[in-house]
């Protein structure tokens, strides 16, 4: 068992070192072929806001060399509808569910966190810190959520700023850090328009690795979860060697689910 909240009275114990990253399997309702909950130590929902959000307009995808940019704009049906539609199913699943809170609506974070305190289907929260946030912002945002809930709090940081922001997140009560979202990039879409958003896919991995290593070197007392562009066994191993306790897979589940299964099995074996 991998304990992601060692300092919290609520345990967040993962039976496997691999998580399904935010939205990788939707609200546990969108499963790529061959992918099932039993493969994972935990599942993270898509980012949720208090009210529904229509998200970024269509034309959300652009390819980059060995990666892509995908801007959903925190498209989600809102907290209540998410709970109405999915909470019962989450209680049935044998794997912990973490609810991701949308980085674009930090003002919702404490309200949602408060409602989840007594919800048996949700084992913890993953807060999405947006690129460009300052340490003082992170300290404020995390502190507010920490006061609203005793649930395990994972804080996901932009990988390129992770070492700068990590102490503030831990100081304000983060139980674990997720490193992280890809750096802001731009690419030209098939229709010629420029799309700007965080880099994803294998091209994002070199930033995940540099972020994990930099945060591990700070010697903070919280577990580190590595995510962003992890596609190969070597990538996972490099993250563990650099100091991560668990990894998140996301686009690999979409692009090559069989490779994801092989990766999970190789880490188990």
């Amino acid at each position: 068992m991998i304990e992601l909240a060692p300092h919290n009275k609520h345990s967040l114990a993962l039976a496997a070192p691999v998580m399904a990253g935010s939205g990788a399997v939707g609200y546990a309702d969108a499963w790529p072929p061959g992918i099932s909950a039993t493969m994972f130590g935990a599942l993270v929902t898509p980012p949720v806001s208090w009210r529904p959000r229509r998200g970024h307009s269509p034309g959300r995808l652009a390819e980059t060399p060995a990666g892509f940019i995908l801007t959903t704009g925190d498209h989600n049906p809102g907290f209540r509808r998410v709970m109405d539609d999915h909470a019962l199913e989450w209680r049935r699943l044998a794997v912990p569910i973490l609810m991701a809170l949308a980085g674009s609506t930090v003002e919702d974070w404490d309200r949602i966190a408060g409602r989840l305190e007594e919800e048996p289907g949700v084992a913890g929260l993953e807060l999405h810190v947006t690129a460009g946030a300052r340490p003082v912002d992170v300290a404020n945002w995390v502190g507010v959520v920490r006061r609203a809930t005793t649930l395990p709090l994972l804080v996901k940081l932009p990988s390129s700023q992770a070492a700068t922001l990590a102490p503030a997140a831990v100081g304000a009560g983060a139980d674990a850090l997720v490193i992280g979202s890809g750096p802001l990039a731009a690419a030209v879409r098939q229709d010629g328009a420029r799309l700007t958003g965080p880099l994803a896919g294998p091209a994002a991995f070199p930033f995940t690795l540099v972020g994990v290593a930099a945060v591990a070197e700070l010697g903070l007392s919280v577990p580190i979860v590595a995510g962003g562009g992890i596609c190969r066994l070597e990538d996972a191993q490099a993250c563990f060697r650099a100091g991560a306790m668990a990894i998140q897979l996301r686009s690999l589940l979409w692009v090559d689910p069989a490779a994801a299964v092989r990766l999970v099995e190789a880490l188990r074996g």
Partner: protein
Amino acid sequence: MIQITATLIERRSLGAGQELRLRAPALARSLTAGQAVLVQTGCGLAPYLRRVFYPIALDDESWTLRVPADGDWGHAWLRTVAIGATLDCLGSVGNGFSVPAGSRNVLCLGEDAPASVAGPGISAWALLPAIVQAASEGRAVAFALEAALARDLIPSQRLPAAVEYHTAIRPPRIPDRPASPGVGVAQFLPELLPWADVVLAAGSLAFYSELATAVRAVRYELGRGFAQILYPAAFLCGVGACQACVADLATGRHRICQRGPVLDLVDVVGEA
């Protein structure tokens, strides 16, 4: 959806493009015209995004995809792969064309819509398996196709002999500019639309909007169940998780891998 390894068993050159026949019985048997297959087009992780293909021919054992003669690296890779090599396929995505049992007269309408204009490219070749099937079921099939260049038209020998084939060359569409009436396949519609029991179409959104206008003009109303269109969408996961494929339809924002890629024309242009 399944993920399977298909074997490249035949390559046919067509101008600078190619047709690749892939042996993949489990996938081929479940595929219908208009459903998408997501194909890995490289070794290792680049290109990372799978390329989207709609089958242009189908049998029990194999399906055929068409690689356009463009500059895409994934397509370039497919053009160099040796016979006997294996390709990783995810499919099928969404729902395809389906001709209602009672439809005797099937009208197929196509546009050669390259990726740059119509968003993700949709090719009229995607209609071929539906045309072949409808003809083999004894239905009357008419196929009207437009392209900017004669070389982009589907050769008539690729169609069953019984199919009535109309072609038109038209200048490329200019986005957001209304079409001149009577250009392209529009010239055949006053005659063909009254005859048709069902329409299957593959082209750009502009093409579909012109089609809706023509249906309303010729048949006075556009009802649900008359015209099926293949929606040009970019797919990433194909299972509803990634939200890459969302489109603003008449009824709101939907994931095309769940709702489409074949939609009722009414879903796209609305009832009005």
